[in-house]
């Protein structure tokens, strides 16, 4: 399964995409907040978003799945 995973522990500040969107390599898809910093998370492949697995305000750990891609 191809995914976008969280690079570090933190909370989901903003979701920039939804299921069905097409994303490209390097595109910001989620903004996390961690250590009081805005952490943009990028897609590392060209794909379509199959599912968004988190919601704004949720805690995620390093490696938690943010998006499923297809």
């Amino acid at each position: 399964m191809r995914v976008v995973a969280s690079p570090m522990a933190g909370t989901v500040a903003r979701l920039l995409v939804q299921a069905g969107d097409v994303v490209t390599v390097g595109q910001d898809v989620v903004i996390l907040e961690s250590m009081k910093m805005e952490i943009p998370v990028q897609a590392d492949m060209d794909a379509r978003v199959k599912a968004v697995k988190v919601s704004e305000g949720m805690f995620v750990d390093e490696g938690s799945i943010l998006l499923e891609l297809e």
């Binding site: 570090m8 522990a9 250590m35 910093m37 805005e38 952490i39 750990d61």
Partner: protein, 509 residues
């Protein structure tokens, strides 16, 4: 046949390397033969080779699959070893090992850089008694690398495999350049892993170049073909002296590729917003002089060699656009290694700090972030080359220490007007100190109280107040930073200091 003719014929034949169909296969794949690599790496017109006749009584084992000798790069003497992958897949026999040991000993005696052009299937197991366990066997190659480490630069160009024990040749070098899709190293092959532990994997997964440059951190530079690796080695060497008692050569200065006046706009006034530190570096260093090391690994911290006003410097910089520039286990390791490299070879250090601190949380605690962070601070402390720390934006807590804060013998701590030095940010601090009081209050009253306390906090750590206490040595406007660094590094060039004499410290690892 006359003796001379016989000799020339034999030399010619050995220099051909392995069987023709292997050579043709290499060339068909667009790759280079071992002697072609050396011809492109080394300056033309000078070269002495040792041990050409190794194993000459066995027809199929030209030079025992390794070429060792002395050459020049940019007019500077260097020693080299190069596996010949067309001869028994570049595998090691007893003479291979002895030739490598001897050229390493030569590098130590001559005090020249030592280059390892690795492309080898590993040791020939059938010969193990003559090459594995003994005093002048394979282990001694790694022992020699350790003795050479920090004495002279050691560069590994990984063109192909370096399997099992052979993987330690790259491991002890200062820098490992890996050719994507061809270079690999692992202690156990996928085939061995399946047999011995039951794991199924591919070559790329187990020990591919990309994996090592992105994930394990064993690789420093990922290149796309042999020539690029050779170019990288020639470039890299120009930042270094021949040995630890010399200074790196100063080159003619060139202006930055982009306008330093633009530095001002790059740094967001919102401390929490990301920006690309590489854009800042590009406006600070001599054009095209930045050679990034471990660019694909622990990207939240940038390490690389550059020139400022023609003078080589080692840059350790936060990268706020990756993980907020927070320090993790891998970034601490990456920084430690790079700092040690620069300090070994008299390359001054420049820290560009914009760091919220070390990562917190149970995951990193279990990884030992405390001891990894301590290791980085150890390296910073021990470095006795000129050190300048520039506080670009915020620097909190142990992040200040790790990026060579004032207590760590920085020759100068410079702050940009956007600098913000504190034990932690205002939100976290107020929350920590006034938690009970905040909980007692409600709504607008609570909001107001928090706001007042944060304002108070910011006044307390006002940059001019810190400067008035001599916490920082100077506050520098961004457009003047380059000039300031050129002048300071020039002045600090005569710095000579030694740490207290002892056998060696007990470094946190």
């Amino acid at each position: 046949m006359k003796p001379n003719d016989e000799l020339l014929a034999k030399i010619e034949q050995i220099k051909q390397g392995g069987p023709e169909h292997y050579r043709k296969r290499v060339q068909a794949a667009g790759r280079l033969l071992a002697r072609e690599r050396l011809a492109r790496l080394l300056d033309p017109g000078f070269g002495v080779e040792d041990g050409l006749f190794a194993d000459a009584m066995d027809e199929g084992n030209a030079a025992d699959a390794v070429i060792t000798g002395v050459g020049k790069i940019h007019g500077r003497t260097v020693c080299y070893m190069a596996n010949d992958a067309t001869v028994k897949a570049g595998s090691w026999g007893p003479k291979t090992v002895e030739k490598i040991l001897r050229i390493q000993e030569t590098a130590a005696n001559l005090r020249t850089p030592m280059l390892y052009l690795v492309d080898s299937a590993g040791a020939r197991i059938t010969h193990q008694v003559d090459m594995f366990p003994g005093r002048r066997h394979a282990g001694r190659i790694f022992y020699n690398e350790v003795m050479l480490s920090g004495l002279v630069p050691q560069i590994c160009l990984l063109f192909g495999p370096s399997a099992a024990g052979g993987a330690y040749i790259p491991a002890f070098c200062d820098i490992v350049v890996m050719v994507d899709g061809h270079a690999s190293m692992y202690l156990g092959s996928p085939r061995m892993a399946e047999m011995v532990i039951g794991e199924k994997s591919s070559l790329e997964e187990m020990g591919g170049a990309r994996m090592h440059c992105e994930v394990s951190g064993c690789g420093d530079l990922l290149v796309q073909h042999d020539q690029e690796a050779i170019d990288a080695a020639r470039s890299y060497l120009q930042y270094f002296p021949d040995h630890c008692d010399n200074q790196p050569a100063i080159m003619p200065a060139t202006d930055p590729a982009k306008d330093p006046q633009e530095l001002e706009q790059l740094i967001p006034s919102n401390q929490n917003a990301p920006f690309d530190m590489l854009d800042l570096i590009e406006r600070l260093v001599d054009a095209h002089s930045f050679l990034e090391i471990k660019a694909l690994f622990a990207k939240e911290l940038i390490t690389g060699l550059a020139r400022i006003g023609g003078r080589a410097v080692g840059i350790v910089a936060s990268q706020p656009k990756v993980k907020g520039g927070v320090l993790f286990v891998d970034s601490a390791d990456k920084a430690t290694r790079f700092i040690a490299l620069c300090d070994a070879f008299n390359i001054p250090l420049l820290f560009l700090a914009d760091v919220p601190g070390f990562m917190i949380g149970s995951k990193v605690e279990r990884q030992g972030i405390i001891r990894h962070g301590a290791k980085m601070i150890y390296a910073v402390s021990e470095a006795s080359v000129p050190k300048i720390s520039v506080i670009v934006r915020k620097v909190y807590g142990a992040g200040l220490y790790a990026m060579c804060g004032p207590a760590f013998n920085a020759d100068a701590t410079l702050a940009l007007p956007t600098a913000y030095i504190a034990v932690m940010g205002p939100e976290a601090a107020v929350n920590a100190v006034y938690y009970n009081k905040i909980m007692e209050l409600q709504g607008d009253e609570r909001e107001h109280f928090i706001h007042e306390r944060r304002e108070e906090y910011c006044r307390d750590i006002d940059l001019y107040k810190l400067a008035s206490h001599l916490i920082v040595d100077a506050i520098v406007p961004p457009f003047r930073l380059r000039e300031e660094l050129i002048n300071r590094f020039a002045a600090y060039a005569s710095k000579r200091m030694t740490n207290p004499r002892k056998r060696h410290g007990v470094m946190p690892v």
